[in-house]
Symmetry: D2
Subunit: 343 residues, 4 copies
């Protein structure tokens, strides 16, 4: 919670993330003007105390100068268009904050373009998902120092706060902003760069758990009958794979005292408690940009990221995007060994 004076913030985009950010700000005394293409989303927040606008023009007029406008819309073309439109109707010294999942390279472009009009741009990687309203948001911020500092009251409110984690051993003295849950990471793009890497790590951690639980789930492989033929690798030691492991219980026990304790494990335990076999899922896993960009950054920088990229590629495979590659393999096997595909 902020200890500083409340501010006014305009929010464009009232989806899951945008709406809750507004709510968390209002709870702490900030005034919010809200806009969304969907008028109902505006109505909802107006009912909760926000000031509503039903066009970008109206939205801009309702904001005091210099305006602080947080954009929370899908990355890519929608964000692009929103910034472009706003740049036409804003005034010098206004500030646009892109809180979405934009590519940090776009931030650099946006900051430069807006600078020619005297408009400031701040990129703000925002982690917290649907839980941010209660838990607060982890904020990774890029932009000019005075502009970022000016927005401190907003960031203080949105961040989870210093009490949300025990103090790190070795830290002493005054509380720094990163201990509250927000960090000015550097110039334009730095915030989304750090958020990108955060998501890249998230992919890796998720895959680590997913692979591990899959190994536990198949710990009974030795109980299954297998056909011995030239096409199938025999399980060399079936006697070592005769366990029926309750993966939901394992997820739960690891939540206490283990090295893999983490919020992702908590969520997994929750999902498995509800549905130990996860039948309601098909296993087609989306990826939303940052995982890709993280791997590209690793490649560009020349640092190895085998785990993060393997996690990304597994998602591609989960959606069948390895299909032509696999056909090539089957064709080669037929070519040199006369092997037919097994159904």
């Amino acid at each position: 919670m902020s200890t500083q004076s409340p501010m006014q913030l305009g929010m464009v985009g009232l989806g899951r993330m945008g709406a809750n950010i507004v709510r968390r700000l209002m709870r702490d005394g900030h005034r919010c003007v809200v806009y969304d293409l969907n008028a109902k989303a505006v109505d909802t927040l107006v009912a909760e105390g926000a000031e509503g606008a039903y066009s970008l023009e109206e939205f801009v007029q309702k904001l005091e100068k210099p305006r602080h406008i947080w954009i929370m819309v899908p990355a890519g073309t929608v964000t692009e268009r929103t910034i472009s439109t706003l740049s036409e109707i804003l005034d010098p010294k206004d500030v646009i904050i892109d809180g979405g999942n934009s590519y940090y390279r776009d931030d650099i472009k946006h900051a430069e373009a807006l600078k020619t009009k005297g408009i400031h741009f701040v990129d703000c990687g925002t982690s917290g998902g649907v839980w941010g309203l209660e838990r607060g948001y982890c904020l990774m911020i890029g932009g000019e120092t005075p502009v970022v500092e000016h927005l401190t009251p907003i960031f203080e409110t949105l961040a989870p706060g210093v009490q949300s984690a025990p103090r790190t051993r070795g830290r002493s003295g005054e509380i720094s902003s990163e201990e509250v849950g927000y960090l000015h990471c550097g110039p334009s793009g730095a915030g989304h760069f750090v958020k990108m890497v955060h998501n890249g790590i998230e992919y890796g951690m998720m895959a680590a758990f997913a692979e591990g639980f899959n190994i536990l789930h198949s710990a009974n492989a030795g109980k299954q009958e297998t056909v011995a033929d030239a096409e199938t690798a025999p399980l060399v030691n079936p006697e070592f794979y005769r366990y029926d492991i309750d993966v939901d219980k394992v997820a739960e026990v690891w939540r206490r005292g283990s090295v893999v304790q983490s919020w992702l494990l908590d969520l997994t335990a929750e999902a498995l408690a509800e549905s130990p076999q996860l039948e309601e899922f098909e296993g087609r896993v989306s990826d939303s940009g940052e995982g890709r960009w993280t791997s590209i950054a690793a490649i560009d920088e020349g640092v190895p990221a085998p785990v993060l990229t393997a996690a990304l590629y597994s998602r591609f495979s989960s959606r069948g995007l390895d299909n032509f590659a696999n056909k090539i393999l089957s064709a080669m096997r037929k070519g040199f060994g006369g092997h037919d595909e097994k159904k």
Copy 2:
């Protein structure tokens, strides 16, 4: 903490883990007889209230029947030898608990061998490291049900306890043992199997963080002068890699509200708070068995574990074990392109 009657436990091996397990047990009212090759380690615990023994024979004599003996010694030959020696001097109905990092396949062998003498065997994967004394240990247990149940007071004391994590949404009713922090995973070997996969996941998570922080650490790659020649890949977009990121601050900010919140991140933040460049480390990373065995289990079961295995292989490479492979690559490059190695 246990709500049940105190028991007597014998501990063989008073290293970091064994000694603290004894301490945690004594704190909760259990009586411990302790033995270690190193007499000083015995003395220390005697001073803290344990009963000491200076030979395995003395140790066995001081324990009430049926004896409960926890072995906490290096996996492999030392554990092997200890179990073998004990099997000569124990009586039927005694129980040996292997709490070390043994290969689960050895458990199956040990359980069978001890069964012929009427001695019970329990395998207990124990996570918690040097922090277990305070935080408690996450216990993954394999063995016969009545024997495991008989040891409940011990496990209850060692486990972190139900209050150590908020209850998982979707769970209700009576508290289960996994919510206390210990789980009977199945027959012999099941405990170490689950612990093995736990460590495999740990490797993957650690690598995810390590790679991510490396990408942040090199985010200034575009600031460095590079020579343009046919041997070196030029950085295509140097303008996108001009950030000086304080990785210690990033580790800290992610501790609050982010998706990658975890104990491993807490430890990383701590290490980086103390030494942001980690100059005191060389970067030679050991691996201690479970990571290897996890990958072998995945391969045997036929389930993909690209992230976990990549994490393992990175550790091998950190110790230079890829050297001959790299020489082969350099030799090939010289062969087809006349390329000399760059120094």
Copy 3:
């Protein structure tokens, strides 16, 4: 072709490989006694000049002592049983050659067991697939030196011969056996060990081609309409992915002058010439043991093999064995972000 005196060889197992080995031997003047559970397979080779046997006993009786018996049956239990049965009816000084895809660890066991009866054992990794009759077989041999040397006329006939490849620059003097196409790699198991690694490399090379062709196949990704939503990573630069590449022509052109020239490429070119989209394949890729064992060897030895293991895991994924892992990922994504799976 052998320049040495012809020998007699018994063949057990007349599948694709065994039958052609017999044919290649007979062409070069060796006498063959053949046996298979399937009498028709025996008949076929009898018609081509082999001596047939319709039981293992008859087979053994028809062979001159010391007998040379080549086993070419599925690895694992079938090979196991065949060796065991033969060991009952053979005489000291007889030789069993396992030419199949056995695990080299089984060779060590077999050699030891047969040694107690004075029977010799040779393991012979045999590469060449359905093309071996014409091209010859690459032979990787393990066993005692005098026994292996005694079989030289057989190996000389089966190997492709020195003329099958231009002499390696830097080699001079007498032709060595490896230049003919067979190599005594070491004691028992060494032959199958080298063959195992050969297949591991084969997996990696195959995957390299498969992935590369998949990238070419999707080089038109930027032409496709994609929906912009929070679940799907937008293609950042569609303008760079607007190529319709004829992968069959690419495979063909690479056969001449490129660095990736190889027999696997020849086979790929052949498959794509016949069916550029490979519609007749589903893309479920089997794996037959050696790929797994190679990765396990790498892990045991502590040397990194990220490429070989990634190739193996891709095959597992092609058969859907990553499914539970993917469900875990989808469950986590729903947990932290409220994301539903896309169909």
Copy 4:
């Protein structure tokens, strides 16, 4: 060799590749004008029959219109500058061919820029390395169809020719250009795109061999003494790793009849014949762009390329670029387990 009328070609850049391309062209009757910053390189080719130029202006004047200019200089800024300078002094209808290792995205940019001046641009991925003079070059070409067709005599001469590989089973009728060794892959950039993927595959194949030979090289791991402590994974089955494999002989034997037959294997055999332990190499492996771009293409397209990317990352690791990641791992291990790094 070309069956068509000879042409005149200008060559900018007389390094290993450029000089040999000129030689191969002149051998077949084409006339070449050559230029290089290094006057001695020009002199050398003049002595072999080329027409020399000592400035780009002189070079351009000596060429008949429409000019055909092949650029063979380092990718990136040098190519950029050369094209830019030439664009100032060339005339409409002239053709620039970029035969270097340019990023295909640059081709698109160059083609567009040159188009405004009426100058044609052809990108030509050129494989063959130092062996191209004798073996011919595999050419992967992008650009406008009439322009590419106009240059056919050049491509016919440079390509290895139809006789350089046996005809692919299933192909019949007239010989296509890809069977000669050159292919018009599509519009601007398509040539370098295909060349890029070629190199990506090359990385994967090289790594497959390198990893495999490393596994063979360590097949004696079980003979070495290892210390048993909590920091080191014990070799579970030392009895299975007691082979001393002559990797040079293995490379040689695989050249005949095996599935991994390839030019890269030939080169490996050659290198190992000369130096079985490869002591003259350190194992620092460069990467020169295409491997990176291939992985980026896979990521952008959304197709998995775990093998190709693992190969790339191994090269990064060989140069120590994983160092900070490894320090993070060591720091974490110290944090949770009190483990010190082993030297």
